[in-house]
């Protein structure tokens, strides 16, 4: 008997891609730009952003659901990717405006004057008029896109190398990753960090060179790009988790000491996964923030990465479609509740205002899922697919902290 290969698992990948394609087509046909104007441009943007969140949830599922490493810092890589993309967007857009403004002057503007003008425009808000060193590549789209991969990738590589080689595991690693994202966020809050402090980068929805194209069209283009990225990400990650590599990382999740004695460098694999997922998260951020229009250091708050883990837990860890469903469902529900559209509940003595109470509801749902339905939404699919959990008298599948629980496993 051959082991399950990528092709044998292709069925769920094909179903996923088909669903994603249908969804994309449906939204396009209902958009203001390309069909019956049934849904607003801002909702198209919300859906596009949601697809990016699904992509970062896939990365989280790979590192936590498959390899058992509960990283609570992956939204830092997502936001860093966004910052890197935002730098180019802001630079190039401001350049257009400055060149236009200087064109009215009697003498043609020198390159120096233009650069000075851009710097004053961008950094006036933090009382500076010079480009910090980290903006060195912001003038060039390809260089800055390379930075969007390299900066989060290198940070993950260095952080991961330090953490994994000291064999930091379990809850200690989670705390360390929380500290990383918090430290980064506090650093970026400073005005002299070079990224405009708490103002962050704004106006990112204006794409340089596409000033004539309306937001209704741009929103759909970004929606397509996000759907494509999610589809490709899904195919790539389902390849990664199938075959022997998938076997090895699941083995690391359940019993990493045993994997070492098989001759696999557990630290090397963890570092590989940590860096790979950081880069995927960064790419998702590159697509997310032009749709959001603004990025500031609050995006790197520790809570953001905890949400990410909650999405994957509610969707059901250890299966890729679970992560996507969890992220889409919870983040859309969250924007409905916090957007003030959910009706308040008057109790007479007190009115339940969902903007305030949504977090309590989410926290309660998270606890309930963990206790009573550890398979999350994935458990609903098991009713159709006939997948059952093994009977292990409550024993986990391995001795490690992140190992699969009895109810999460497949018999």
């Amino acid at each position: 008997m051959m082991p399950k290969t990528y092709l044998a698992q292709n069925r769920s990948v094909l179903i996923f891609i088909a669903c994603l394609a249908l969804f994309t087509l449906a939204i396009t046909l209902m958009s203001e730009a390309y069909g019956a104007p049934l849904i607003s441009t801002s909702f198209v943007k919300t859906l596009g952003k949601t697809l990016c969140l699904c992509l970062v949830a896939l990365a989280m599922d790979l590192i936590w659901g498959y390899a058992g490493i509960l990283s609570l810092g992956h939204m830092a890589f997502f936001a860093l990717g966004g910052y890197m993309a935002g730098m180019w967007l802001m630079y190039a857009r401001t350049e257009e405006i400055v060149v236009q403004a200087l064109a009215q002057s009697p003498l043609p503007a020198t390159a120096e004057e233009i650069t000075q003008g851009i710097a004053t425009q961008i950094f006036g808000v933090v009382g500076s008029s010079d480009f910090p060193l980290i903006w060195s590549f912001a003038h060039s789209f390809p260089l800055q896109m390379a930075m969007a991969v390299l900066v989060p990738g290198l940070l993950a590589l260095v952080f991961g190398w330090l953490a994994f080689r000291s064999r930091v595991t379990g809850v200690y690693l989670s705390i360390l990753t929380q500290a990383m994202t918090l430290a980064l966020s506090l650093y970026l809050f400073q005005n002299d960090s070079g990224l405009r402090g708490n103002n962050g980068l704004s106006g990112l929805q204006n794409i340089p060179g596409l000033g004539d194209v309306g937001q209704d069209k741009l929103s759909i283009w970004f929606f397509w790009a996000s759907a494509l990225a999610l589809g490709l990400g899904y195919i790539a990650l389902s390849f990664v988790v199938s075959g022997k590599f998938g076997s090895v990382i699941r083995a690391i999740r359940d019993d990493e000491q045993r994997v070492r004695f098989l001759g696999y460098s557990v630290e090397g694999y963890k570092l590989f996964l940590f860096t790979l997922t950081a880069i995927i998260a960064a790419l998702a951020g590159v697509l997310y923030y032009p749709q959001a229009g603004i990025i500031n250091p609050a995006e790197l708050a520790p809570i953001a990465s905890i949400y990410l883990a909650v999405w994957v837990a509610i969707g059901g860890r250890g299966r890729l479609y679970g992560a996507v469903i969890g992220a889409a469902f919870v983040s859309l529900l969250s924007s409905w509740f916090t957007g003030g559209r959910a009706p308040s509940i008057p109790l007479g003595f007190y009115t339940v205002n969902w903007v305030d109470w949504w977090l309590v509801l989410l926290g309660g749902a998270f606890v309930a899922v963990t206790l009573f339905a550890p398979k999350g939404f994935g458990g609903l699919f098991d009713r159709f697919s006939g997948r059952r959990s093994p009977d292990r008298k409550g024993a986990a599948l391995g001795p490690d902290d992140g190992s699969l629980m009895e109810k999460e496993a497949e018999a």
Partner: protein, 247 residues
């Protein structure tokens, strides 16, 4: 007989307790050796040192014809150099099938990139079939290893060790928790294994050691007390005093 594994002058202390005290001995190529000793004699610590789990305070451990020092290698590197280890409790990956467990153990490049693009060839699957047949699991290949019985898990772990093709196999109390029939099968398997590689068996059970019919090293308080045939060491008054006298 030239030495495959040379342990010399090794000492290790845990919080002031000297678990291994100036331990020295050699294992030859293709030798079957039993290591016995009372609880706390340092048997498991000795295995931890050879496999890289514990670093000794002093001493040297070298392996192979080129006398590579194992002390500067990580656990994974030691495993790749050809040292396999069988734990006392069966440790297989319970969420994965017998085939997946064996494929993971199969000797091949272990680097992440190579593993990511690795595809099982026809001969790899044939090897998995043969290994499963050798340990009596030929009809269990598709089953999750978590569903196997205690004894079957032990066989699977031995199959995984064979797949690794180690030159030295360290086996920790293989007879623990086994029925008489299973013990006999295990004895035969270990003797068979020792024909192609060196096997060190750490054991508690004298009857089991007698059946292995090999050279015996007696450990006591972290160093070698006696060495020789089982009859030779059991005649040693010191051994009787510290070990047999109690049992």
């Amino acid at each position: 007989m030239s030495a495959l594994l040379e342990v010399s002058g090794v000492s290790v202390t845990f919080d002031g307790f000297r678990a291994i005290n100036n331990l020295s001995f050699n294992i030859g190529i293709g030798e079957l050796r039993a290591v016995i000793g009372p609880n706390g004699a340092g048997k498991t610590t000795f295995m931890d040192i050879v496999t890289g789990k514990t670093r000794p305070d002093t001493g040297t451990v070298t392996f192979g014809e080129r006398s590579v020092s194992l002390l500067s290698l990580s656990e994974a590197q030691i495993a790749r150099a050809g040292v396999g280890r069988k734990f006392q409790r069966p440790t297989v990956f319970e969420d994965q099938s017998v085939t997946e467990n064996l494929l993971m153990a199969l000797k091949a490049n272990r680097s992440p990139w190579r593993v990511l693009f690795w595809k099982p060839k026809v001969e790899d699957m044939a090897r998995v079939q043969a290994l499963a047949a050798q340990v009596g699991l030929a009809d269990q290949l598709a089953r999750k290893s978590g569903e196997l019985s205690h004894g079957q898990k032990q066989w699977l772990e031995i199959g995984m060790l064979l797949a690794q093709e180690p030159r030295l196999l360290l086996v920790d109390e293989p007879a623990a928790g086994m029925t008489l029939a299973e013990r006999e099968q295990t004895t035969a398997m270990l003797v068979d294994l020792a024909k192609t590689r060196a096997v060190v068996v750490v054991e508690h059970d004298m009857e089991f050691v007698r059946r292995l019919n090999c050279k015996v090293t007696v450990l006591h308080e972290g160093s070698v007390l006696a060495e020789g045939s089982l009859d030779h060491v059991t005649a040693n008054p010191q051994v009787i005093d510290v070990y047999l006298g109690r049992g």
